[in-house]
Symmetry: C2
Subunit: 132 residues, 2 copies
DNA sequence: ATGGGTGCAAAGTGTTTGCAAGTAT
DNA sequence: ATACTTGCAAACACTTTGCACCCAT
């Protein structure tokens, strides 16, 4: 991995991710960062998000549609509301035993697994009942 | 859900998915279908893949990069080789109990979960050792 | 000074969609 | 006859990249 320099832009991106409790998309981070410095470009935000997640400073959550980023560092499970698109953390421990099981069963060197639960969050369920 | 008609194009798409043991991307299906009928358009393939997976005839596997489709119908877990991009099925039973756990913990109506294991498959591991 | 970093805009990649014509029911 | 489907191309959403200049080390 390349040597990382410390730049104002990189710091702004990192701060933007850390200042949010939800799971912002790259573009949401871009919007936030633009509020502090309107000259930062999308490319820079994308590049820095990639660098920071490679370095383990933030977590890259691969959700269909648009990838998201998370201030929590370790792997954990996520919940996606298929109605409103909100993503939230789940209070379940990551199970490394599964990775070992799969390693043994397949002969592959497993580095991790990603689990996303799909459902309808309570507020969306309400809206749907009201609407129909 | 809309009423489904039976068309030659739809059948070709379904056959193409069923004739493969791997997990083709929409574009791979498109290539296959074009071999039988060179006038089918990408749009039609995408539309039919969506319709068929909505109808439960095939499974939509949401892998980062490009979505894939699977002739197996029920939900199950997948393995993604982060080096060559190959996707394969895992011989592990789907655990519906997890969905209930999350439902209880969050109050959301969980419909399913998707798990993707990431690792390096044996043949890629070999190549990497040889290359370095 | 040197090599990574930045801004910009253009190009990619994967997917969806508006429309007029076609076709299964 | 009706309304779902198709082919085509344009549009989309998200992300990456080439390039010339900039700046942290």
């Amino acid at each position: 991995m390349k040597q990382q320099r410390s730049t104002r832009q990189r710091q702004l991106v990192l701060d933007a991710v850390r200042s949010r409790c939800d799971h912002p998309t790259a573009d949401e981070i871009y919007i936030d960062v633009r509020a502090s410095d309107s000259r930062i470009s999308r490319g820079t935000v994308y590049r820095n998000l990639a660098l920071l997640s490679d370095a383990g400073e933030i977590l890259h959550v691969k959700v269909p549609g648009a990838d998201r980023y998370d201030l929590r560092r370790g792997p954990h499970y996520h919940l996606l509301c298929t109605s409103c698109g909100a993503v939230s953390d789940l209070p379940m421990p990551y199970d490394p035993e599964l990775d070992e099981q799969v390693s043994r069963a397949t002969g592959c060197a497993i580095s991790r697994h990603r689990t996303i639960f799909e459902g309808i969050c309570p507020s969306c369920a309400e809206k749907q009942e009201a609407g129909e």
